[in-house]
């Protein structure tokens, strides 16, 4: 009886199912993310600080922090930092605790309030990265080190409040155009 059960588990059909499951899941994920990227709302925020680096392991990338234009000071006494918070963007800009805003908020970004300066950081609370092709590294490096140049980030915001970096804007122009 047990041998039959084991033999059943190892049939060809079960193997086909086990192989198809990851393929279909990943294909579904790719399609969903593609749809999400097209239907998500977008917003532009200024870049607060940036750092450009290149190494053989991680490649060439721009590391930056986003200025959401709002601080966590009003929430300081409500929780031990760092704590989860969110920024509501529609209908009006405000900050709130936890990752779930109230029903009135139609567009929000979830993140955390860090300790010290009580600054709001979107997503997982880390700085963001934007990868740059190696051959454009030097040109981009000069651009980003110039503090007089206006740098912004175009965020695609999912319905669950996750900010995704869609593009970097330099003086209002896409970084991809600057790299051509």
């Amino acid at each position: 009886m047990l041998n039959q059960k084991i033999a059943f588990l190892h049939t060809k059909y079960n193997l086909v199912i086990a192989l198809l499951f990851p393929i279909l899941t990943l294909a579904g994920l790719a399609l969903f993310k593609s749809y999400e990227l097209k239907t998500n709302q977008t917003r532009v925020f200024p870049i607060k600080w940036s750092h450009i680096q290149s190494d053989s392991l991680q490649g060439s990338f721009l590391q930056f922090s986003i200025n959401y234009g709002i601080k966590c000071v009003s929430l300081e006494k409500t929780s031990r930092c760092p704590f989860k918070a969110h920024i509501c963007l529609e209908p009006y800009k405000r900050i709130g605790l936890h990752h779930k805003p109230d029903k009135n908020c139609t567009l929000f970004i979830k993140g955390i309030c860090e300790c010290g300066l009580l600054v709001f950081l979107g997503g997982e609370g880390h700085s963001h990265r934007y990868y740059i092709p190696e051959k454009h590294f030097n040109k981009m490096s000069k651009l980003f080190k110039n503090k007089n140049i206006k740098k912004e980030v175009l965020l695609s915001i999912t319905k669950t409040g996750v900010p995704i970096v869609k593009d970097i804007l330099i003086e209002g122009q896409s970084i991809k155009k600057k790299m051509k």
């Binding site: 047990l2 588990l9 060809k12 193997l15 990851p22 393929i23 053989s56 997503g123």
Partner: protein, 504 residues
Amino acid sequence: MFLKTKVHKWLKQGIITPEQAEAILNRERPSYKTPHKSWVLYGFLIIAAVSAGLGILSLVASNWNFIPDAIKLTFYFLLMGFLAFAIIKMKDNPPWFEALLALFLFLCMGGIGLIAQIYNLEGGGWRAFLLWSVITFGLMLFSQKQITTDIWLFVFSFSFFKWAASLDSTYAPVTACQVLYLLFFLLYFFCDKTKFFLSKIKTLTRWSLIMGLIASVYLFFMQFYAPSAKVFYIDNWLLYLLFILILHIMTLALLKIYPYQNKIPIYLWLTGLFANTLVWVSLLSKKIAKDGGQELDPPFVLLFLYTYFLCFVLISLYYYIPTTPIPSFIKRYKHTLVTWTVILGGISLLAFDQIWDGTAYSHPSFFYYLLPIGLLLGAIAYMFYESPYKKIQKILLSTLLALLTVYFTIAVHLPDEENFIKMFFTALILVSTGLFAVSIKNYILFAWAIIFLIIRIFIFYLEKLYSSNLMGISFIILALIIVVFIRLIQKNKDKIALWTKKLE
């Protein structure tokens, strides 16, 4: 190889005859008929394959941005489909089946990374690993290889733990460790009683013990982090006691049914028990301040250490009295207890220097060097008078110990600019370890020495090279050099066989 060692042991003990030994080996592993299979060459071939693979990946990665996203995804799914078809076709050919399955599992993670890169998804590595664990669970069950199950369990444990750590609860991480431990423990029982997935039993036992140790270590280290970091610490000695009691009673139950002779789990358990009771005693003494200070009261800790050490001395002596009734599962670990007692003695000595002498951390005292040099000389003296090793093996082992001592006392303190010297020392240590492994025919030790040597050389390479294109080309050249090297070895096989025979 495990079976071969056991058969030789039984032959020596007179349990089986030479004819029976040969019959067992011939039945279980036909390759034993050719005992001089060149496993050393296989080690180098793997280095060459990994190097070539990394080189190609590096070249693709450096030119990645020029490939449109739709083509990347189409190519990926076509590749996965082809691989799935190949796996089904090779179902009855175990070596190919396992190799293709491993590649498929690896590419599943690659696919998750590809989608994350294309859609610029951020969110921590643990989500990717958790997704990978879920989608590959079914495939893992089909694999008969322990390493596949090991990797899956490691990834699942890591991502589960990180998920728990991302929750708001302060006790979630340590509870996650205990839950994982209990889960593996129950899975082991399930497989053992129902005889389902018998190939997973050994792996599940190992993982139960590893998870127990991790839970134990976590309980220890988390007490010493400041509260500003995203970790917790338990201030309540009763709650802490509850956690360690649950943990260690489960481990004792597991060790009682543990069917293998390997002593390593006992050492791991004793280490965990020692670390946890040390912290518990400190908690009890109210020496850990509420603001996260981790100052332990030195005289109190020393007193605890020496008391702990003396307890084990007494336990060891007690179990050596011939008339003492010893439970059978303790009996086989009697010598382990003695060894652990000796280790505790060493820890107590080191602690005396590190804790008592306040300047020991920044300016190592003479005692700090005296201990490792003393241990080295003692070990060499023991080898030359007591061990059954041949002269060349003793020289190899002495060289290895000397290199380790020099490395840990001098090379470790060198600045980062002296990376080449550190790499050189590490390579020498690993080559000596590999040669020693060849001399005692320990294939596993040789394999690990090769693996660590590869990792160290690659790390050195990556630290020095800054361009992905250049790195890719360098790795491919390295692979070609190794292939030429292997060819030369094959041509001079007989001379090398004679030389390795002299080592044994």
